[in-house]
């Protein structure tokens, strides 16, 4: 999972946030604990943030998970709804190395 990126690249400045939309905090906690998630998991309890990204960048399938990488300049450099940690890592490393 994205834990790999957090552990490998967090020390270099990469940030990883899980975002749980419209979910019960207790349920999210037990889920992330069972999955061994070490990065911060943010609670989007109203779903507003999810909607913000959905509205702006709707994926063809609408399916989860949805992963974005925001570049150092605040622009989106990667977006996918296929789980592909390798591709995320490529984007993160690219940003860390600055091209």
């Amino acid at each position: 999972m994205q834990d790999r990126i957090w552990e490998a690249h967090g020390p270099d400045g990469a940030i990883v946030w899980g975002i749980a939309s419209q979910e019960d905090a207790g349920r999210v906690r037990s889920y992330t604990e069972s999955m061994g998630v070490t990065f911060p998991v943010l609670l989007d309890s109203t779903g507003d943030v999810n909607r913000l990204y959905d509205l702006a960048f709707a994926f063809p399938t609408g399916a989860y998970p949805q992963d974005f990488v925001v570049g150092t300049d605040g622009r989106i450099v990667y977006a996918s709804n296929e789980p592909d940690v390798e591709a995320i890592e490529v984007a993160v490393v690219w940003e860390l190395e600055g091209g």
Binding site: A14, F68, R75
Partner: protein, 534 residues
């Protein structure tokens, strides 16, 4: 395209804790945050050099951009990254700098104020307030610095000269301070007025006006600088970041409302007249002697207003600066904009005008260009832990800027486009594009006039895997940036339209109750993993 890895290492080393393994904390702060502001990114990288900059286009653009049919002459440039003969010399050159990363303190500059008469520069930032001696061009000397004593990261975001030997500074958590700079090696605090959220400030006569992010502009009587007396507030604004005065009016850069107009008919009791919305969050504002306002509107770019009716400013130009406009300065017929990644110059008083600015220069900086100030032919650039001293060169020259620094392809053959913008003062000639296997790159034009853009179409065969160092390289005759690299990655299933857009900003609490705001992490790559437990 910046060398951010180096930067992050520097930032890490410079943190007060002295460790480099706390990645999240020493970032450009929310002073820069509006870059990712929600409303500003609607047109993303294609922010559109509409308004004045396009004025330069008319004559030379001809029918070339007349639509799809007019773009039929796609050509493949030499598959090489060797630049052609360079065109001119660098028109904007850093002639001196000071790096503060190894001493007992650091700067992390968010505001610079140049005092040309005494050849000193005041800076404010997360390391405190500092004074630099820039009389020696090759090595500005750090004279002294002062913190607020609040512990941890300082949040000094603005600094302004007061009477000689004194400076005003605002600190987000502590308030307004008057600092003695009379002995620049030994700065001392003269007085402090408590306030939360204080940002940009300006003075006129006996009054000081300070923007308060909480929604106010506060007014102090400073007849006696050492004893500022609060005289009132304008309430009910949005997110005021900065304020400037022209005649009997004050103009507030407001992240929510745009440019807010205050009447100063009674300087002690400003009256809120109205506002003009901006294309992105307005964060900094300056005025020139002719009453033009220059507004750094973060993701919305740079906007110019005329104030012939002081209470109803009118927008006369809106400039794409290739990134978020974070600070602005006007000097010597030129408009300078700090975009975090670069300093961008426009000609507004030589061949250009505020209504029809001409692109002039685009220079990337080493770290994060967050602020600039200019006087006497010299430009002071606050580049995070570097204070750069810049001067104009003599030759016109092209300046290459690419719209994306990473192209991600879907799991099928497809073609994506990159925009090449010439932000310089001479024609840009592309010499070659070096591509890896599986990629064909074509250009719609190899020569790009000043202020205009070209398109590079990048076609992937859908088979060759890319990632981990795969890139294409664009070579040109830009004397300062002959070669630019764009990363290539395959395998993502993302919707292409998200790429290159400003990420909508948000603030959320995590499971442990910590608050996280996306725009606070500017300067760091952030992975957002939306997941569901169901």
């Amino acid at each position: 395209m910046k060398r951010t890895l180096t930067l992050l290492a520097i930032v890490g080393c410079s943190s007060p804790s002295g460790t480099s393994d706390s990645p999240a904390k020493t970032t450009p702060t929310d002073s820069a945050s509006p870059e990712t502001g929600g409303d500003g990114g609607e047109d993303g990288t294609d922010g559109g050099a509409d308004g004045g900059a396009d004025g330069a286009d008319g004559g030379t653009d001809g029918g070339g951009d007349g639509g799809e049919t007019g773009m039929s002459d796609w050509t493949v440039l030499p598959n090489s990254c060797a630049p052609g003969p360079l065109d001119g010399t660098d028109p904007f050159v850093r002639i001196g700098f000071e790096i503060n990363q190894t001493g007992p303190w650091f700067t992390e500059i968010l505001d610079v104020h140049y005092l040309p008469d005494i050849d000193q520069v005041l800076t404010a930032g997360q390391g405190g307030v500092a004074v630099f001696d820039v009389s020696t061009l090759t090595a500005p000397d750090t004279l002294g610095h002062i913190g607020a004593g609040s512990g941890g990261l300082e949040r000094f975001y603005h600094v302004l000269g007061a009477s000689p030997g004194r400076a005003w500074a605002t600190h987000r958590d502590v308030g307004l301070q008057l600092i003695s700079t009379a002995d620049p090696r030994n700065l001392s605090r003269i007085v402090q007025v408590a306030g939360i959220g204080y940002e940009g400030l300006t003075t006129t006569g006996d009054h000081l006006y300070v923007a308060d992010l909480g929604g106010n502009v506060d007014v102090y009587n400073i007849f006696d600088e050492t004893s500022p007396a609060f005289v009132g507030s304008v309430l009910g604004l949005g997110r005021p970041w900065d304020v400037v005065i022209v005649g009997d009016a004050a103009y507030v850069a407001d992240g929510d409302l745009g440019v807010v107009v205050l009447s100063l008919a009674d300087p002690a009791a400003p009256v809120h007249i109205g506002s003009v919305s901006t294309g992105g969050q307005a964060v900094r504002i300056v005025a020139d002697d002719d009453g033009y306002l220059y507004v750094a509107a973060s993701a919305g770019g740079l906007e110019i207003y005329e104030t012939s009716d002081p209470l109803a400013p009118t927008r006369v130009a809106s400039l794409d600066v290739g990134g978020g406009a974070l600070d602005v300065a006007v000097h010597d017929g030129l408009l300078g904009v700090a975009t975090q990644e670069a300093v961008v110059l426009f000609d507004i008083g030589r061949a250009g005008t505020p209504e029809a600015p001409l692109t002039f220069a685009y220079e990337e900086t080493e770290q994060f260009a967050m602020s600039l100030d200019a006087a006497d032919g010299r430009w002071m650039v606050g580049d995070w832990n570097i204070l750069g001293v810049w001067e104009l060169g003599t030759d016109p020259a092209p300046a290459m800027d690419l719209s994306l620094d990473l192209l991600t392809f879907l799991d099928e053959a497809e073609t994506r486009e990159l925009r090449v913008t010439n932000r310089g003062s001479a024609d840009l000639d592309l010499a070659g594009i070096e591509v890896p296997a599986g990629i064909i790159a074509r250009v719609d034009r190899a020569s790009i006039p000043r202020g205009q853009s070209g398109t590079i179409s990048v076609e992937w065969d859908g088979v060759t895997e890319m990632g981990r160092g795969t890139s294409l390289c664009v070579a040109s005759d830009d004397p300062s940036r002959t070669v630019l690299r764009v990363g290539l990655a395959s395998g993502a299933e993302g919707e292409g339209k998200a790429l290159g857009q400003a990420a909508p900003d948000f603030t959320l609490e995590d499971l442990d109750g910590n608050i996280h705001r996306l725009s606070d992490e500017l300067g760091h790559p952030v992975v957002l993993a939306y997941f569901a437990t169901w």
